[in-house]
């Protein structure tokens, strides 16, 4: 039997009745793996909370506290209600970026469907938040500062808003997929030690892209929260 490149490659056969491609089946399988991992980790942490935290609780508290501080720094106090959404996105994107560095694992964010799903959630939530917060006055965000220029500005703003999920999707997808491709090509050319610097760069890229995704999600939500001028 040929040793498979990925551990969860058998999901391709299981998901074959759904008529999805092999790469998408891999992404779905590893997304489920990450969901299970994060669920088990959070249940393990929160089931035995102590006033003197153990190592696991200490680690999780550091992550959650760091993200909370960043949200308060970027969005102010009124950004606190969006902590669950942004922290979930950030941790999911970070873990799915980093899991690609382990041999035999495929980062789900290297598939455009996963990143598009995350970006569309951000896009929809910004507008839902804006409409909830401002009501009909949310339309003023699209009309620009000058009244008689509003019809022109409206279309420009709509295009600008539509380009946000596209750029969020393509940035994360392009970075992770490009990294995977470079690693694959290097492995094909010289498998010994040569891909190592690229993998080191992959750690950096994973953290930075997760950070940028989180930061942009926060800025978009804050942009729909503030008053139009």
């Amino acid at each position: 039997m040929v040793h498979p490149l990925l551990f969860l490659e058998f999901f391709r056969n299981l998901l074959a009745p759904l008529h999805i491609t092999g790469a998408s089946a891999d992404a779905i399988a590893y997304t489920w793996l990450i969901i299970v991992l994060l669920l088990v980790l959070s249940v393990l942490t929160t089931s035995a909370l102590k006033s003197i935290p153990g190592s696991l609780q200490n680690f999780m508290e550091a992550i959650i506290g760091g993200i909370e501080n960043m949200i308060v720094d970027t969005m102010g106090e009124h950004g606190r209600p969006f902590f669950p959404l942004i922290a979930t996105l950030a941790i999911f994107v970070l873990v799915s970026n980093l899991i690609g560095l382990i041999p035999g694992f495929f980062p789900p964010t290297a598939n455009i469907n996963t990143t598009a799903a995350c970006a569309i959630i951000v896009f929809l939530s910004t507008h839902v938040v804006g409409i909830k917060h401002h009501g009909l006055h949310y339309l003023k965000h699209f009309c620009g500062p000058i009244a008689w220029l509003a019809p022109v500005m409206f279309f420009i703003e709509v295009i600008g808003h539509l380009s946000r999920p596209v750029s969020l999707t393509l940035r994360l997808f392009g970075n992770m997929n490009g990294h995977e491709l470079v690693l694959m090509i290097f492995f094909g050319l010289a498998p010994f030690l040569v891909p190592l610097p690229m993998m080191l760069m992959g750690v950096l890229v994973s953290f930075i892209q997760a950070f940028v995704f989180m930061l942009l999600a926060m800025i978009y939500i804050q942009g729909s929260l503030e008053e139009a001028h």
Binding site: L170, R171, G174, N177, G178, V212, L215, L216
Partner: protein, 91 residues
Amino acid sequence: MSFFTMCVLAAGIGMALGTLGTGIGQGLAVKSAVEGVSRNPGASGKILTTMMIGLAMIESLAIYALVVCLIILFANPYKDIALKLAETVAK
């Protein structure tokens, strides 16, 4: 030149041109950020965050070029037409 030679050429030249401008832009951004930090080390946290957003925005241009190159190389929509044309020419 055959269709596929042109595709590979276009992907290579496109990626090179795409990264040229992005490299210059990112260099300028990092230059200003480093200058700002050296003048006022206290503001390094805020400068780092702002620079990261800016770099991500600039970088996405190169990523767009990369995605277009990947489409040209691996998911070319005109591949079937080109193959069909090549067959008819061969006959």
